[in-house]
């Protein structure tokens, strides 16, 4: 079952007679369970998409279903099972953290015990009775997360939840998201901090200029974007080494004092064997892996430059579904 289904979502705004397209024909299916990363540079349409999912903005065209319910008609039922943070956490500054949560909890008839549990989960119990206007951005972010957790939701939609957090706080949030997903919830998290997402998410979608340019597991997205891992080796005579490697059918790139062999980690033994056979003893061997960040920057910069992504990348969303599905 998909917890979020977006079909041909298009959202444009008119501002001073100028029309701006924020989301341009987005298709997305977020399966239940796990952490789903929704990535994109600033202005790529992530927040607009989240607002459309939560019924805060109306789609110009296309359809959205949240937990199987159409948006906005079935929102009441879906929202009751969804915890969300949208953009910067907006809370009542003249109330304490605990009062904020209690006030929200009352809307759904949630008792004070759940408030205490939520505060404890995000590590805010000690500061729960301070006024929110005295909170740092990181503490507000935690409080917003606590508010999102209050409903014990099946689905969490979090827009940049690590904003304003220090490294320790970011790690805590990352661990929390993982723990929530391991408990059987679905966590849909938007971010432009790729390192956070890469280590936490089961699946990702990369958004650029309002369009999805890649979707799938992190490994699949990296692989399908055409990036292969490589092996970097250093030997005394790189020219001789390169000839020896090419002789056994490996693709080699000559670098400054080193060689880059375009092969996966499984071929490391072949590399050392070929070099040893040519009397070239390896002084350094290192596996080079492409990160999600490399793919992200490549895909999104292509879009921002006004170029179409390569056909392979453009069809990633579908092709990876086939591979994974």
């Amino acid at each position: 079952m998909n917890v979020i289904e977006i079909d041909g979502l298009h959202k444009s705004y008119r501002h001073r007679a100028k029309r701006t397209v924020a989301v341009d024909g987005l298709d997305l299916a977020v399966p239940a369970g796990g952490v789903y990363g929704f990535l994109g540079p600033n202005g790529s349409g992530k927040t607009t998409t989240i607002r459309c999912i939560l019924g805060l903005a109306r789609a110009t065209s296309g359809s959205v279903r949240l937990l199987g319910r159409p948006v906005p008609a079935g929102l009441r039922d879906a929202v009751a099972r969804t915890g969300a943070i949208v953009e910067t956490p907006a809370l009542f500054p003249t109330m304490t953290g605990r009062e904020n949560l209690r006030l929200l909890a009352r809307i759904d008839g949630i008792g004070p015990a759940a408030v205490d549990d939520s505060l404890d989960t995000v590590g805010l119990t000690d500061r729960a009775d301070d006024l929110v206007k005295r909170y740092s951005l990181g503490m507000r972010q935690r409080l917003a997360l606590a508010a999102a957790l209050l409903k014990d939701p099946e689905l969490l939609i979090l827009d940049e939840p690590a904003n304003g957090l220090d490294p320790a706080g970011m790690r805590e949030v990352r661990n929390l998201l993982r723990r929530l997903a391991d408990d059987g919830r679905t966590v849909f998290v938007s971010s432009h901090i790729l390192a956070e997402i890469e280590s936490t998410c089961d699946r990702v979608a990369i958004l650029s200029a309002g369009r999805c340019v890649a979707e799938g597991t992190v490994d699949d997205v990296v692989a399908r974007a055409g990036h292969r891992s490589s092996i970097l080796v250093r030997v005394a005579d790189p020219d001789t080494g390169a000839r020896a490697l090419r002789a056994v059918g490996l693709s080699v790139e000559r670098l400054d004092g080193a060689l880059r062999v375009h092969a996966s980690a499984e071929h490391a033994a072949d590399v050392t064997r070929a070099l040893a056979g040519a009397d070239q003893w390896v002084t350094e061997l290192r596996l080079e892996r492409f990160s999600l960040e490399d793919v992200f920057l490549e895909l999104t910069s292509l879009q921002l430059d006004g170029q179409s992504p390569p056909a392979e990348e453009a069809s990633l969303a579908h092709s990876i579904e086939e591979v994974v599905g």
């Binding site: 705004y13 907006a90 009542f92 809307i107 917003a144």
Partner: protein
């Protein structure tokens, strides 16, 4: 009801609302002190001779025959306070971005808007009535020490309570109207400036340029409802029932337009 209670709690936690209530309470104390000092050393006859009446003479609090009295002085301030309070409750939510937060809990916008309007109305009604009671109670030392309760009977109390209830209803309407305007514009200042401009500038222009339209102006209808007396001018005559209906119609139109706008617009985190 849960949503209504939540909205009422939130409104009462707004600093502007608390400041307004505090100012009103200080005003009551000040009025009580002025009444006591002003009536000290005077005989009842001297107090009765005063053209404007005296707060130390209880029957001067509200004169049913002329629909005047010391209570009328409080009406204008209560109306202003309720309007500003209502505007700040709605406008503050937009400024802080908490509208987004609340909508992720209650996505039915019309229900939320109705709860917010109702909470502003109910709170204004109750607070306004309580403040009127306190305002008049502040005169009690002057009445019991320097003045008189002579002439106070069931008819007086009846007229006084009805006038207080009417004032409370008007302030409730002002608060609901303010919530509607601040919601439509997503801004406290807009609501305040719009109403000020309408009442002070535009209505005065209409009075000068198109006197035949005076019967439709807020000012004339408000004055008629506040005093609950027939308004007679050279051009028209306006009864309190028609004036009430006119004001209700204006209010319904603005509240409806604000609800429609809130129901359809895209919600950003902050304005």
């Amino acid at each position: 009801m849960r949503l209504l209670r939540t909205e009422m709690r939130r409104a009462l936690r707004r600093r502007a609302v608390r400041v307004l209530i505090s100012i009103a309470l200080l005003g009551c104390v000040f009025a009580g002190v002025v009444a006591f000092v002003g009536s000290a050393g005077k005989t009842i006859a001297e107090l009765r001779l005063d053209d404007e009446g005296s707060p130390a003479v209880m029957t001067d609090w509200w004169i049913a025959d002329t629909n005047e009295g010391y209570l009328a002085a409080a009406m204008f301030f209560l109306f202003l306070g309720a309007f500003f309070g209502g505007a700040t409750v709605a406008g503050g939510e937009w400024r802080a971005g908490t509208v987004t937060t609340v909508l992720t809990w209650e996505p039915r916008r019309l229900r939320l808007h109705a709860a917010r309007s109702a909470s502003a109305g109910v709170l204004s009604l109750v607070i306004s009535f309580a403040l009127q009671v306190l305002f008049l109670a502040a005169f009690l030392p002057a009445v019991f020490v320097n003045g008189t309760t002579e002439g106070v009977d069931g008819a007086f109390w009846n007229g006084l309570v009805i006038a207080m209830l009417r004032t409370s209803l008007i302030t409730a309407g002002a608060a609901v109207l303010a919530v509607a305007l601040a919601t439509a514009a997503r801004n406290t200042a807009f609501a305040v400036i719009a109403v000020f401009t309408w009442l002070v500038v535009i209505e005065n222009l209409i009075r000068g340029l198109r006197p035949s339209l005076e019967r439709w102006l807020w000012g004339e209808n408000l004055a008629t409802v506040m005093t609950w007396a027939q308004l007679e001018t050279a051009d028209f005559s306006r009864g309190p029932i028609i004036a009430s209906a006119t004001l209700l119609a204006y209010c319904a139109l603005i509240v409806g337009a604000a609800a429609a706008s809130f129901g359809r617009r895209d919600i950003a985190a902050t304005t």
